[in-house]
Symmetry: C2
Subunit: 662 residues, 2 copies
């Protein structure tokens, strides 16, 4: 084994210091991580037990009992450890580190001598390892624990979990691969592919990279591994405990070789985790056909199957993509984990090729679907992130049961909350990329932070101060190690500012070249150089393509990266009776008292006059007798804050109306 | 047993002779009944076998084999016989009658000596009779066969099947009832309740009426029969063949005593079949609390849970009602059978109390949801009748799989097609009611026909000639048996003519009194008296209440009883991009070439200009850059004709826009 830290230098060192984001970091540190620790240990009253830690205790021989929870329960421990690793990197906490070290020893003790590690199979189905890759999440759990190992190693310098997982990776490498006698299979839930790339990054062990590529290459080849495996296990399903039909290969993105895929299909989280790994591999191996597939899948996902909030997955059946332009707002899925996975994919595409569209989507998902999933107390979550909610329908129409009108308590077994935790704890990794080849620092996100970069011309420190999402002024203070060293600072021109971005360098307006959506500032930098990037932050109405039928005749409100919504609390019910005047000015106002403070958007609306309907209980009447509208004042709040003021209707897309001239 | 025909006199004798409806009668006679006969005998190539006739042959000892099909397969034979009975009444056919007589002998031979009759239990679970009323449809099948017996007796005068079913009814009466030692249960699918009332009507056997009332009275009482039965059968389910959870009593409308029910819940067909029986019993027993419950349930169903097409049932989960004002157009259920059941309920309410609102709904369901379910060839059917269709979504979004974009072949086991057949064959029964007490003939539907009525003042013949649904002129020719005899002719003032209904009697304009939505013409009638009822038939835009969120900002087109829709074939795709100008005149034009001839409606519309979107693949752009509309000509066709010109988008509700002034 060849553990190395040298490749670590590729990653900029970034620490967030930001008025908007510091609160989230603290929430994760002070609330989410401790709360999840309690959950993993079955200490949350009135929540279903997790069993996750107990499973490891039993597998380690420290306790007696039976395996509990889902077949992928181990991954909850992994995600927690990963979040802890990120957290400790920026915010040392000896107490937390001690707890985590203890968990890692437990994991090490649960590992088999040959390296195998999975409490479900160790405790419940020993001997059945690798017989149901389609359903049993073995490599998925391994992948999450590898991610945890890398994060913990990078956060603390401690190699214990990394060694455990390298041993497991070596074992997996002995079982899977293209060679005769090995299993030519892959997991039903992609995850290990991107994890092995991370393991390769910190260990430089090329076998891990090759193994990741093997999993990607094998997927979708004919004859289908999943079909053959299904036959081998007597067509029996773990989930239904019955003989089942032929697996739906598209659900697992195993319907065709990944290089031939052009359309996002199947389970959305599986899809984007896979795309992220494909982008990693395209970058690290220079595989052009993989790059082309990534570009096609990116385009399809983001131009045809993405909600304006950065949500993906239009149906709860299989938590899946449906098809191009099918983006229903009310029966939506838009799982939190899927948007997080979309961020993974976007950030890898940025590493591949810095184009602002990747960062635009990354930012869109982050500021809307992802942070909107968490309540302000950090203890309640949306798994499904709807763009239109009618609470009574969520309760009484079974086709909408999956759409919750209020955030749910974080139950023992759950994917989204720990995913939010690990994402927020590692948000610093998404702000910049640095390219030693082109001697350029790309600023993708405008989040206050202190950073250092290793470039061809030496190291550079940079401080970013950002007013986002409330104000559009972003300030960069550059401190090169050596005065006069040259490099390019590339500032993203966000899609939402319509090119209205002003630049000053040391107080003087500066023209700039634009490349792939970035303003390039190439100069010799001196200590104290200040770049100010002024982005127009104007609330505006956004329309959707006509092919997106659900949004016909409607508009959404967006201001900067934030999508807004109407809530019943501000605008009454039924919300659908309200329309927004297309030509009217949208006003903005900072409301310090609103859920931690937020800019609200105000507009002129119209509402159908209800008088005629009150006189009659008829459901339908001639339009001519009912068409009376009156003006109303509309108040929109950021989407990420919806559902924090009790239960009520919400809508992102608002009917539009002509104004007074009508 | 006391078979009697004297009560038959209550029913007016009506024979349809109508340009619009004759075609449907012929279709049912010449195509649907023979086609169904082939289906019942497993002679339809590439359709799943029905087994229905074969089951009776096996049970009768004439063939060997096993029971096939659903537990309620017998009811398909019953519905066919019922339709045949109605058909023979108006259109003798010795060949068909011979075939039906043969089936009846088969049924008689399959009857147990104690009267019990059900091929599923006789062949497959003998000894298990009456042990799973919740699921096994025994009384449901019995009810349908009773309806068949009554129809066949009334259509042919032959009592064979009537005697068979009276024997079964007597047996059921010995098993069920309030007395100690009897089963205090009721069926999971209401049907026998209304069938027993029919049996009572032709036999005057009050035990049948009492038994019907017992089933209605027992339903929903606590402790719940279904819960106790579920415990007795070890909580085992016929359908899943597994132990299942507590039955959802609301699904069966058994959650509370029927007299306490105010909101339509659960499986829509079950609900309206029950409401129909409740209305029958309220009329025949003078039960005021039952009448009040009928009125409440009518109001809730039709004012809060009914589509503009007369469809009911907002969700395919349980084919059920959801809740007030939840009427999604795209994930709709609106099962054909449920609208037919709504017509049953409406016609019984009309017998109880002649109010035009009952006939308005009856007509709405008939002209839209019901006849729209059948293709023009009589061999393809919609079970689900959507108000908005996007064929690709029906195929690729699992939440819409139940919504078919084209009518489906009539498969062996199916409820809706035979229900349409028996409804259309008995449509003559829905046109009039005659009240000997008030000496009044009510004309509820305007369908050309020849009729005779028995009134206090003697018998009256009446010929109706109607231009509906294309023209609003309706002509009545009255021929009393004795010249000068007095009675009242009450003509319905349809909700769609907004009171614009002109009356002439023998060519002279005549004023009229209005009572409960009927124009009353009380006079002494002479042979050849002619009443002309001129109803304004104007195409108009209809709005929905603001509480019906799915239709916010939209309008439907209605002309007379017909609801219209836009189809892709006439208006392109995506249909959602089109809006209709609110103030513009709607034109009408008779198109002889359109699917047998129909009046189409034309209007002025707007469409979003797609140029800006074609230049870019962005899913979302600022509204200000995209908001260009151009005028389009819109063509709407009657809803009942949709989906007959290939597969395409369809919508009933159309976005509205302000006109040129904008």
């Amino acid at each position: 084994m060849n553990l190395s830290t040298q490749r670590d230098n590729e990653k900029p060192k970034v620490r967030i210091r930001d008025d908007f984001w510091d609160g989230y970091m603290e929430l994760v540190r002070d609330t989410v991580i401790p709360y999840q620790w309690d959950a993993l240990n079955d200490r949350i009253a009135d929540a279903a037990p997790s069993y996750a830690i107990q499973n490891f205790r039993i597998a380690a021989g420290l306790a007696e009992g039976e395996f509990g929870g889902m077949v992928f329960q181990d991954s909850d421990v992994a995600k927690w450890l990963e979040a802890v690793g990120y957290s400790l990197a920026g915010h040392p906490d000896p107490e937390l580190e001690k707890t985590a070290d203890g968990v890692i020893e437990l994991i090490a003790a649960a590992q088999r001598s040959d390296g195998y590690l999975n409490t479900y199979f160790t405790l419940k189905e020993p001997g059945k390892e690798w017989t149901n890759l389609q359903e049993a999440h073995e490599l998925y759990c391994a992948g999450h624990m590898m991610e945890a190992a890398v994060a913990y190693y990078e956060g603390t310098g401690k190699r214990r979990l990394l060694e455990v997982m390298c041993k497991f990776a070596d074992y997996i490498d002995s079982v899977f691969g293209p060679e005769p006698g090995k299993l030519h299979g892959y997991d039903g839930h992609q995850e290990i592919e991107l994890a092995l790339v991370k393991l390769y990054r910190v260990t430089a062990e090329e076998r891990y990279l090759r193994l990741s590529r093997f999993f990607i290459d094998a997927r979708g080849e004919k004859p289908s591994f999943f079909v053959e495996e299904w036959e081998r296990r007597g067509r029996f399903s773990h989930w239904t405990q019955k003989v089942t039909a032929l697996p739906d290969l598209a659900y697992f993105q195993a319907h065709e070789p990944v290089r031939e895929q052009s359309v996002a299909v199947g389970h959305a989280v599986r899809a984007v985790y896979m795309y992220a790994a494909m982008a990693d591999l395209a970058r690290l191996t220079g595989d052009q056909s993989l790059l082309e597939a990534c570009r096609r899948l990116w385009r399809n996902t983001t131009a045809r199957q993405m909600y304006i909030t950065g949500g993906i997955g239009s149906t709860h059946h299989g938590e899946a993509f449906s098809f191009d332009y099918d983006l229903p707002n009310d029966t939506v899925y838009a799982e939190t984990c899927a948007s997080i996975g979309l961020m993974f994919f976007a950030s890898r595409m940025l590493q591949l090729e810095p184009k602002s569209e990747y960062a635009d989507v990354l930012e869109r998902a982050l500021y809307n679907n992802v942070i909107g999933s968490m309540s302000q107390d950090g203890k309640h979550y949306f798994y499904v992130n709807p763009l239109e909610v009618w609470p009574e329908a969520s309760e009484k129409n079974p086709g909408r049961h999956h759409v919750k009108a209020v955030r749910q308590k974080w139950f023992g077994c759950s994917c989204c909350p720990p995913n939010v935790a690990r994402l927020l704890c590692s948000l610093n990794d998404y702000i910049y990329t640095a390219s030693p080849e082109t001697n350029t620092v790309y600023a993708h996100l405008f989040i206050g932070s202190e950073s250092s970069f290793e470039l061809a011309g030496g190291s550079v420190k940079m401080k970013q101060v950002s007013g986002l999402p409330w104000e559009g002024k972003v300030r960069f203070e550059v401190t090169p190690a050596a005065s006069g060293s040259e490099f390019t600072l590339a500032l993203r021109i966000p899609d939402w500012c319509a090119g209205k971005a002003g630049l000053t360098v040391n107080g003087s307006p500066a023209p700039y070249d634009i490349e792939q959506g970035y303003a390039l500032i190439k100069r010799q930098w001196s200590e104290g150089d200040v770049v100010v990037w002024e982005l127009e932050l104007q609330a505006q109405l956004i329309a959707a393509r006509p092919e997106i039928r659900a949004n016909a005749g409607k508009a959404a409100i967006q201001r900067g990266p934030l999508v807004y919504c109407l809530e019943q609390a501000d605008n009454g019910s039924p919300l659908a009776a309200v329309s927004i005047v297309r030509e009217a000015e949208l006003g903005t106002r900072y409301e310090a008292g609103l859920l931690g403070g937020a800019v609200i958007v105000e507009g002129e609306g119209q509402i159908e006059d209800e008088a005629v309907w009150e006189a009659d209980d008829a459901p339908y009447l001639p339009l001519s007798s009912t068409r009376q509208t009156r003006s109303v004042h509309l108040t929109a709040v950021p989407y990420y804050l919806w559902g924090n003021r009790g239960q009520g209707e919400m809508t992102v897309w608002i009917r539009t109306a002509a104004g007074k001239k009508e």
